[in-house]
Symmetry: C2
Subunit: 320 residues, 2 copies
Amino acid sequence: MSKPYVVGIDIGGTNTVFGIVDARGNVIASSSIKTAKHSKIEDYIDELSTELDRLIVANDAKDKVHGIGVGAPNANYFTGMIEDAPNLPWGGKIPLADMLSEKFGIPVTITNDANAAAIGEMTYGVARGLKDFIMITLGTGVGSGIVINGQLVYGHDGFAGELGHVVVKRNNGRICGCGRSGCLEAYCSATGVARTAREFLEIRTEPSLLRNLHIEDITSKDVYDAAVAGDMLAKEIFEYTGKILGETFADFINFSSPEAIILFGGLSKSGDLLMNPIREAMTRNTLTCFKGKTRLLLSELKESDAAVLGASALGWEAKN
Amino acid sequence: MSKPYVVGIDIGGTNTVFGIVDARGNVIASSSIKTAKHSKIEDYIDELSTELDRLIVANDAKDKVHGIGVGAPNANYFTGMIEDAPNLPWGGKIPLADMLSEKFGIPVTITNDANAAAIGEMTYGVARGLKDFIMITLGTGVGSGIVINGQLVYGHDGFAGELGHVVVKRNNGRICGCGRSGCLEAYCSATGVARTAREFLEIRTEPSLLRNLHIEDITSKDVYDAAVAGDMLAKEIFEYTGKILGETFADFINFSSPEAIILFGGLSKSGDLLMNPIREAMTRNTLTCFKGKTRLLLSELKESDAAVLGASALGWEAKN
């Protein structure tokens, strides 16, 4: 391979993190800028280009970058555009791949953040060697990247893999950020866990450490801390969350019969508190012919590098 | 192509239908035997081989058959085996592909019946030219064949695509033939519609033509006939069924973002009675980014030929 590096860029609602990565998945150098600082996309691209170029020069990587991979919300692999991303400051359709490729003269490939995580896991993480798996990201929202027969599933329009918006409560479900109600994301994201906590605290009467906090300020981290401290109500909140995840995973298995479902993101670091109820509900609800075949795994990517690594893995397949 | 024909065999619980098919999808000749006549698989294979050989000789197709494709319940594409099919007389694992291939000296490929229908539709039917679609078979059960990027989804074990067993009623759902409860199949198969009819007749008080029948003998065909005759309760049964299908299809779209969902099987011939409520529920429940993108289509394969055609299409890819 003539060019030994790729660049990975992870565009989040708050920060944009980028780094230079070698073929073994080592992040040679990384940096970040604030995503929301610029309301005009051109100004954002200017700052990102300047900072990335500085990083490339400082690490003697000029003319050594094979491609740039970008993970971003609502990013379309086929069109190279970010399309109507509600959590980014720029509305409408942003031709991000073209804009970046013009700046750097290097091919750029983009996809949504959960797909980038799946590719990263397949290239550098626990999914190495797996041909059929589903990546579930449990963060502020619930995202997914589906790999079938070694290939990421993009669907006919580039947007496939929105498993966070499968409906888990058909009647009387919680309003979701997507405008519908009862979505998996409304229950099993970090914000979903906080909503469950508020619901439990209002309806239930047991004492709980969580009652010492302002109810509107409770986060999934607070629920985790309380559960670790032995709080029974907080533990039940994780059981409730894990049960919904496990039941839903059993349904996902009917679709693509994956070797593994891999969890990634903040909430996936909750350990047995979440994993035990997921595993139990998954086992109980899986169709007989699939029982015991699908492993439940945790991402192996180092948290600090994961987003950049996932995006960078796309850089290897970027073409002009 | 040196050999101009393929053979398609469709193994159902009652009948086994088989035929010789040319490259344009014309069924040159077909015949059938009773599946359940033989409790020993060897006897069944003997009769099937004798009858199929007779058909081949009678149609001057000896040494002109490229391959044999078989659609059968619980048939595994990877292993060539029928594995524990509850509706067939032979339990355990049946090495069907090897047994047939030995008899005929021709490569044999097998897959489950819904997958065969999807391949048939892609080769000869309404899915020609489509790369991403989901085939849903609405018969005695609910089956599915999922095509992503032009390839059938088999999953890591060959059993992917069991969408009839996605849970649509999490609490208080009907018992399903699979031993679990609340599955799509328990509501939206032909037998599911008959169950809904019995439930409606017991709980509701309105007059209905269906009340003239013995409640235990009511079939989905009776419900269809009553609805066509203007029976309001029968129409509501179709609305109830279609709503569940439409809601569930909206969830399936989140997975693979298909260009089309294609319906096949007896119940799919119910026309607007079923299609209108499906379409309405699908539109209302689809995530914004997918709205209006996925067409709802009906199979174009001639009913009498469909099963054999679907299986035969597999014969073209059969390899020793």
